[in-house]
């Protein structure tokens, strides 16, 4: 550690200790001991009455014995593709007794490996969302498929005869077969067009590549091959294009395990604190104007240093808004980039074609095309075409569109000019929504033909050209829903089901003609992915003709932004564009940086807050003239004073019971400019309303009282062996006798250098262990139930904010402080080193939680609702659903340990290292978590425990935790 003070809460920065009163961490019960015992008598008597005869239960076996692989009570894994966003990550779906209960990463997937993001884990809950439509609707009336099909076909036939525009509006579709189905549907009409719309768009990257390389494409970015990453506001670890794939590559290039001493370097220029920026080795806080000028200056310097011919506008560029310090930082960055020519990567998160053109210019000058940026294998993710969407809104308002079919989009909520969209929508004679719920847009449609969930449907995906994956149904549709592709097929007069269409498409277009189709299909279905080997081809040539004009426009843009307050819109890692707002798992997941749940807010810098006399939670009115919204303010260190950052995806009105009226809708701040949606709204004003709310924030909860628990080194310190210095003592003296471990002793190592804070582990754990959602009010009372707490520590002043993430779950201590205080032996030590938590013994004294040094125990204050019979289908039958008054916590997924132990013993062999994977470990995109048997001297976990960066939390307490951490290393040396 470099002696810098770490802090978690903004107000805490100057205080010596966190002000949380340790004694009152769990609120006291207002009940005497005597009353408590009397009431226990009542409960016992009631239980006795209920228990004199158990209710009769039925066992209902199959009528016909299913396939041989199916065994009741045994989970089966099916390779599939996540449909949570357009990234189309490879997933394994765990199916228990016919119902999908968990998504895991598919380690055979070439792009995402075994990683998944938080949103993917929450998708199971969405399958069992009882707010989904259960049958097709005609307006607000329930109908049957035959009825709606007949009426829709009749109306479409009318359009076929009379002519008129038919438009299909969808979110990004990475499925080649679906695109073929849409195309086939549209060929029936004289003027049919498919429009792709993404609420949060990256269209500028495609437009920029059309200008500079002649290809309208998003290239694939290779974060694993880059030795130096320079990002201008792109949150590539959080939300940008394909965060799981990028996180995987990024952490591979920064892996310091197994004696590696090299890691990539990451410099981030940004105005608000993003997840990627929080992981950067050097984070440069800039205003939006400074960000643009830094990019231009970087282009100029890189061109000069590489001898690249630069247009006059760039060669003569002189920054007007950059102070000398920033100019120096940009110069250093340029020097580093030039040193690592061909092994660096510059990206920008701006949806501004001009900025992307300049980025392309820099990457080209550095020779990164072909090395870290590949246009020959373009990405098919995020294909939204902002111009086409604007044209559609115009056509609709002009009354030209005769039929509009929407799928997976909700422009009545997330289009910046939603009033314009809805007025145009109302003028379309035939409006069909294929969305699964009656959302803001569907509510005004003539027909809603709800699509099946992706876990109920066949599909395919080609997230990157040449990399295919399949999606297979893991349950029959729960409701009267239909795959949207099948709806389009019916209306094209094609009666085939989509499965046959899919197979035929793969046979014709994807597999080689001479291949054995069935064999290849089965293999692809089993592994979930199929890759077409490409022959290496040269990258398309770079044309610099547009760079000059782009630079000129950027200069003007920087001038207009300079010194003005700007609203910066962004996606939260959990809520993304708001499509999944009705998912309580996502609503309750704390944002990794702000730690706030169940809300969006206007993030302001500490200086701006002081100027406006804002406190955390003060409600402010943010306006840019055209749009005004009221939101509570959140004071965010590391944010530039010129920026108010607001997350989109909130303020839904037709999401469902969990998502309605949470936060405020910030989409109206978006503008359409220069052919793309702009997520920066300049000329904003902010004023205090006087009201104040309390956030459901977890940042103060379960704190370790300011004790130093993060270890961090610079790469130079690490290489010179300093990581092993300092306290490594594992005290040997104890009043307790040592545990004698026989067969196994389970342990875990978490690499803080790999962890990016993406929070996927929290939701993976929640899905695996039936962790309940408690709601906003209860989170305010510190009663959230997540078994993994992702601690986030800030370091440094507001200028150079550095962030460290640390997942903390039960450490399964050998000298556990919880075990010695439990009066009923509900928490005891197992012969394999686990702190077992025996729910049926627990009487809820909460002594254990109070005595836990790591604050990882969670108490069930209520019987959290399990009255939604459909939602209950998401429960894992291998894990007890805890009742009120019971303490619970992580036990290293003991159900998974037992399952694999039984399997190994039944097969008469030892457990293989790596065979047992905890839920958090399995889907970590950064592979930060390693679990294993510490008795096994050869195990991976044991190996990592001997890493020089290995340390344990609070060693002075001599708790001997089974979890240790590998210290964070920052590559602060200039390359």
């Amino acid at each position: 550690m470099n002696g810098e003070k770490l802090w978690k809460i903004f107000q805490q920065q100057d205080a010596d200790r966190d002000s949380v009163d340790l004694v009152n961490i769990e609120p006291r019960a207002a009940m005497s001991r005597r009353t408590f015992i009397e009431l226990i008598g009542f409960s016992a008597a009631a239980a006795a009455l209920a228990g004199c005869r158990a209710p009769e239960q039925k066992i209902i076996p199959f009528i016909t014995q299913p396939m041989a692989e199916f065994t009741p009570g045994v989970g089966l894994f099916y390779a599939s593709t996540c449909g949570g966003c357009s990234a189309s990550c490879g997933a394994l779906v765990k199916v228990r007794d016919g119902r999908p209960i968990k998504l895991e990463g598919n380690d055979l997937h070439p792009l995402t490996g075994g990683g998944l993001c938080a949103v993917a884990h929450a998708m199971v809950f969405e399958l069992y969302d009882s707010d989904r439509l259960r049958q097709p609707m005609r307006g607000s009336q329930a109908a049957t498929w035959d009825e709606v099909d007949a009426e829709i076909k009749k109306q479409l036939d009318g359009i076929k005869q009379n002519g008129g525009k038919v438009r299909v509006l969808t979110s990004t579709i990475t499925s080649p077969t679906t695109l073929a189905v849409i195309e086939k549907f549209l060929t029936q009409f004289t003027d049919g067009k498919h429009i792709t719309y993404d609420a949060v768009s990256t269209a500028a990257i495609r437009k920029a590549h059309l200008k500079t390389h002649g290809r309208e494409a998003i290239p694939s970015y290779k974060f694993d091959a880059a030795k130096l990453i320079v990002s201008f506001g792109a949150d590539f670890l959080g939300t940008w294009i394909a965060p799981v794939e990028f996180t995987r590559g990024y952490s591979q290039a920064r892996n310091l395990r197994d004696g590696r001493h090299e890691m990539s370097r990451h410099i981030q220029f940004e105005s608000r604190l993003t997840l990627a920026g929080s992981n950067a080795d050097r984070r440069v806080k800039v205003s939006p104007a400074e960000e643009i000028e830094s990019l231009l200056l970087l282009a100029k310097l890189v061109a000069a240093k590489t001898g690249q011919q630069a247009p006059a506008e760039i060669a003569s560029f002189n920054p007007t808004n950059l102070n000398p310090r920033l100019q120096q930082v940009v110069e250093q960055t340029a020097n580093e980039l030039v040193k690592l020519k061909g092994a660096s990567l510059v990206v920008s998160g701006a949806n501004d074609t001009d900025a992307q053109v300049v980025v392309n210019f820099i990457n080209n000058a550095l020779g990164n095309y072909g090395a870290t940026v590949d246009l020959n294998a373009p990405s098919a993710q995020k294909q939204g075409d902002d111009e086409a969407m604007a044209e559609l809104v115009r056509e609709m308002n002009a009354g030209e569109v005769k039929a509009l079919i929407i799928s997976g989009v909700n422009p009545a909520y997330d289009h910046f000019a939603r009033n314009e969209f809805t007025s145009g929508f109302a003028k379309v004679p035939l409006k069909i929504s294929l969305n699964p719920t009656r959302d803001e847009t569907s509510a005004n449609a003539d027909f809603i033909c709800p699509q099946s969930h992706f876990l109920e449907s066949w599909n395919d995906a080609e997230p990157r050209r040449g990399t295919f994956s399949l999606s297979q149904p893991t349950i029959a549709p729960l409701f009267q829903t239909r795959a949207y592709q099948e709806s389009l097929l019916r209306w094209s007069g094609d009666e085939r089901n989509f499965y046959n269409v899919l197979r035929e498409h793969w046979k014709e277009n994807i597999f080689a003609k001479d291949a054995n189709f069935d064999e290849l299909w089965d293999k692809s279905l089993e592994s979930g992915a199929y890759t077409i080997e490409r022959t290496a081809a040269a990258q398309p040539a770079f044309a610099s003709s547009d760079v000059g004009n782009a630079a000129t426009r950027l200069k003007t843009r920087a001038m207009t932004l300079a010194g003005k307050l700007t609203v910066a819109l962004y996606e939260k890692i959990l809520m993304r564009d708001g499509a999944h707002a009705n998912n309580p798992w996502l609503q309750e997941l704390p944002d990794p940086i702000t730690k706030i749940t169940w809300d969006n807010y206007a993030s302001v810098s500490p200086a701006l807050a002081e100027k406006l006399q804002l406190e955390e939670g003060s409600v402010v009115r943010v306006s840019n003239g055209a749009t005004t919204i009221e939101l509570p303010a959140h004071i965010q260190t590391g944010q530039h004073d010129d920026v108010i950052a607001i997350a989109v995806g909130y303020g839904r009105t037709h999401a469902g019971k969990a998502g309605n009226n949470i936060g405020a809708n910030a989409y109206p701040f978006v503008s359409f400019d220069n052919g793309t949606f702009q997520y920066l709204a300049n000329g904003a004003s902010i004023e205090k309303t006087g009201a104040k709310i309390e956030f459901a924030s977890t940042q103060r909860h379960h704190t370790l009282d300011g004790r130093p628990i993060i270890k961090e080194f610079t790469l130079a310190e690490f290489i010179s062996g300093h990581a092993g210095e300092g306290e490594r003592e594992r005290q040997s003296q104890s009043i307790w006798k040592d545990h004698a471990y026989g067969e196994h002793k389970w342990g875990m190592v978490v690499d803080l250098n790999a962890c990016t804070g993406c929070s996927a582990c929290i939701l993976s754990c929640q899905a695996e262990n039936n962790v309940p959602v408690v709601g906003r009010e209860e989170v305010r009372r510190q009663r959230e139930m997540h078994w993994i707490r992702l601690d986030r520590y800030f370091e440094g002043d507001g200028e150079t904010t550095k962030v460290v993430y640390q997942p903390v779950m039960c450490a399964q201590c050998d000298n556990a402080s919880c075990e010695s205080v439990c009066p009923v032996l509900a928490t005891v030590h197992s012969s394999e080193g686990l702190n077992m938590q025996v729910y049926n013994r627990c009487v809820g004294t909460r002594y254990c939680a109070n005595n836990c040094a790591y604050k990882v125990r969670r108490f069930n204050w209520f019987d959290y609702p399990h009255d939604d019979e459909i939602a209950n289908l998401a429960l894992n039958p291998d894990v007890t659903v805890r009742t009120r008054g019971v303490m619970e916590k992580c036990t290293f997924c003991v159900q998974r340990i037992e399952e694999k132990k039984i399997l190994a013993r039944n097969e008469g062999r030892a457990i293989r290292d790596g065979e047992i994977q905890t839920a958090c470990q399995q889907s970590c995109p950064a592979q930060a978590i390693t679990f294993g048997d510490l008795v096994d001297q050869e195990s991976r976990a044991n190996h990592l425990k001997h890493d020089e960066r290995d340390y344990i939390l609070l060693p002075e307490l001599n708790l001997r935790p089974a979890i240790s951490y590998l210290a964070k290393v920052r590559n602060t040396e200039e390359a």
Binding site: K58, I59, I63, T64, V74, S830
Partner: protein, 195 residues
Amino acid sequence: MSLRTARIVSLVVTVVGAIVLLQNATFSWLGNQQGYEPVQPIAFSHKIHAGDNQISCLYCHSAAEKSRVAGIPAASVCMNCHSQIRKDSPEVQKIAAALSDNKPIQWVRVHDLPDHVAFNHSRHVSAGIKCQQCHGPVETMERVAQFDSLFMGTCVSCHRTHREVTLDKTGKPVIAKEATPKRLMASTDCSVCHH
């Protein structure tokens, strides 16, 4: 509910509960299902099948080797034999009807452990524990009744005395007589069954 009401209700419930419970002749212990012998929708006799005709338990309960549950056979499994044998029996015709009507048979569950207990059949079957150890002489039962209390004491007393089971070369389970440092007894850790 105020505390005062709770006290009164508590007292009344306790007294009434005690009277109700003590009148019940079959009651021996809280929640004990020992001897539970519900009438099943089909008068299936384990005595005829497992006893007289010596059909292996695992023929029908095939999941017991692979899963935590033993599994109830699908109607189609019954018809493997009954499409030839005793086709005219009214009970067999009920199975045939279930198949032809596509209506599953709703058996009444006899052995039902609490939800917080995870018992795994496969481990015990592979370890060579006989089904009768817990289920009693099912091969003599016309109608299945719960033989054992299936209380935790039953499980733990066995786990305390049984050694680690391994398979010999022929695949036969061998129960080690002595615990060695590496080879422990069947575990009595809580988390083996409770998670």
